[in-house]
């Protein structure tokens, strides 16, 4: 640890909660925040607090949004008969960057992962089922990550959704093996969406 100070320790621990941040990086961030002018630290903490207070989850697609429903769900120009299922908002953002997809989304909030205690109830699967049952939707594209958990989730969804009378397909993975959607570039994702294959 940097100093014999519980409050600095807490700050380092807080940074370490961020994805991809190890002990060394967390200490560097803490040192930066503490040695920069007080204004800088206030800027960061205010930004975190404000964003967190303004952002909520969309009552339809479960993505993070400032308005409810989100901009995509509220847009009448989008095709409301197709839903692309992603693990996280970052996957949705990656596909939006591609610019070619005109349908809606559904954010699962993760993937099936028994070892981490994540089953269907921890995901937004039932909300997806209710959206489909409400009508209008006739196609589901599963764009979970190309990991063991993402593939397992895709297969689970194909069986769970089959009785609802929608067509379920899986995106063709030009997405790097073992990787998340956010690692793929927009063009690759547009191709992947077009090259989807029917599941189940």
């Amino acid at each position: 640890m940097l100093f014999e100070s519980p409050s600095v320790d807490r700050l380092v621990e807080a940074f370490r909660r961020l994805p991809g941040v190890g002990k060394r990086t967390a200490e560097r961030y803490a040192l930066h925040v503490l040695s920069a002018p007080a204004e800088e630290a206030r800027l960061i903490s205010d930004a975190v607090r404000n964003a967190r207070e303004c952002i909520t989850t969309c009552s339809q697609c479960c993505t993070l949004t400032e308005t409810n429903p989100c901009g995509v769900c509220a847009n009448p120009a989008r095709d409301h008969s197709i839903i692309c299922v992603v693990e996280r908002p970052s996957g949705m953002m990656a596909i939006e960057r591609g610019g070619a997809y005109r349908g809606l989304y559904h954010v699962l909030n993760g993937a099936l992962n028994p070892l981490e205690g994540i089953g269907p109830d921890e995901l937004t699967v039932e909300r997806l089922v209710r959206r489909i049952e409400a009508g209008d939707v006739n196609e589901i594209i599963v764009a979970t990550n190309a990991t063991a958990e993402g593939e397992a989730t895709a297969l689970y969804l194909s069986k769970r959704l089959a009785p609802l009378g929608v067509s379920v397909s899986r995106i063709a993975h030009g997405v790097p093996m073992g990787g998340g959607l956010e690692l793929a570039d927009g063009l690759t994702l547009s191709h992947a969406l077009q090259g989807r294959t029917r599941l189940g």
């Binding site: 099936l112 028994p114 958990e149």
Partner: protein, 357 residues
Amino acid sequence: MRLLELTCDHFRCLNNLRFEPGPGLNVIRGDNAQGKTSILEAVLYAATSKSHRTSTESDLVQRGESIFRVSARVQRDAREVQTEIAWSHGAKRIKVNGVNQTRVSDLLGKINVVIFSPEDADLVRGSASNRRTFLDMELSQLHAHYLHALQRYRHAMRQRNEVLRLPNPDGALLDPWDAQLAEHGTMLMRERRRFVDQLAPLANAAYKAIADNEEMSVVYRSDTKEDVPLIEALAAARSSDIRQRMTTHGPHRDDLEIVVDDKAARQFASQGQQKTAGLAIKLAELELMRERTGEYPILLLDDVFAELDTSRSREVLTTIPPEVQCLITTTDFALTEELVARKPRVVEVTKGELTVS
């Protein structure tokens, strides 16, 4: 493939060691705990960055030191290849031909060795997991996609077993993992069966030559019949898997059945037969590697004569093709006429120091 030079610093009891073996047979003679086995271990380490005696690298550093270095220079085809592994305070640096390598997989395959040591007796007399480890190690070296499938298979199984531990496992939550187990497991079983089919006749030929025409067979054994798709075997076993809360079918349950002189070698063979069977499998591997790479690997035989009678010991040496470079350790070595004919290079090891006889 031929080892031209091995150098070691602070590796076990070997320091400032430089060893230049000859082509063909090399005998490393010495009393126990003088460093004979460490020389073979160093060759294996330079080739794979792994030891056959320990998985803890701090065991390899000389007492009182914090760094060690091992380097091997070999001739393969007409080229020379040099590997160097330096270990310092827990961190390892690998170089091939003087260039730093970031991954162990970039080292593998540069120097090919086959080692037979007393630990390999477990291949025959140990549990099934020893034999599965042998298959997985060999096949992972032969095909990169095997290792990949093995890792994904193990991961899917941990996930499936976790579902099986839930109070009321839901079939819909098992299906996705069954699909992944079946996909990767089928590939693992197919590659293992193919490997064993190639290995078995070669092992039998080596065994017969050493053991005065006694026969040996090696067969891949699985509860999943070859003509039943693994996905169906998993489905059929599901209710019993749920009861037992574990995955009861698949390559992680399979075994190699080794039969010697019409008896299951694990329970009924003598120590000499078990050792000979283990050695025959390693000699078969030597042939398989030559088929694949076009060159024999370097053969390391650690204390191979213990537990073998004199006639088998003699046959071991005549079974090894003369173009194989072989390093043999022994406490006691009588130069028989056949051996003299092979012009072995003999070195003595005392307290980690080499002297050429």
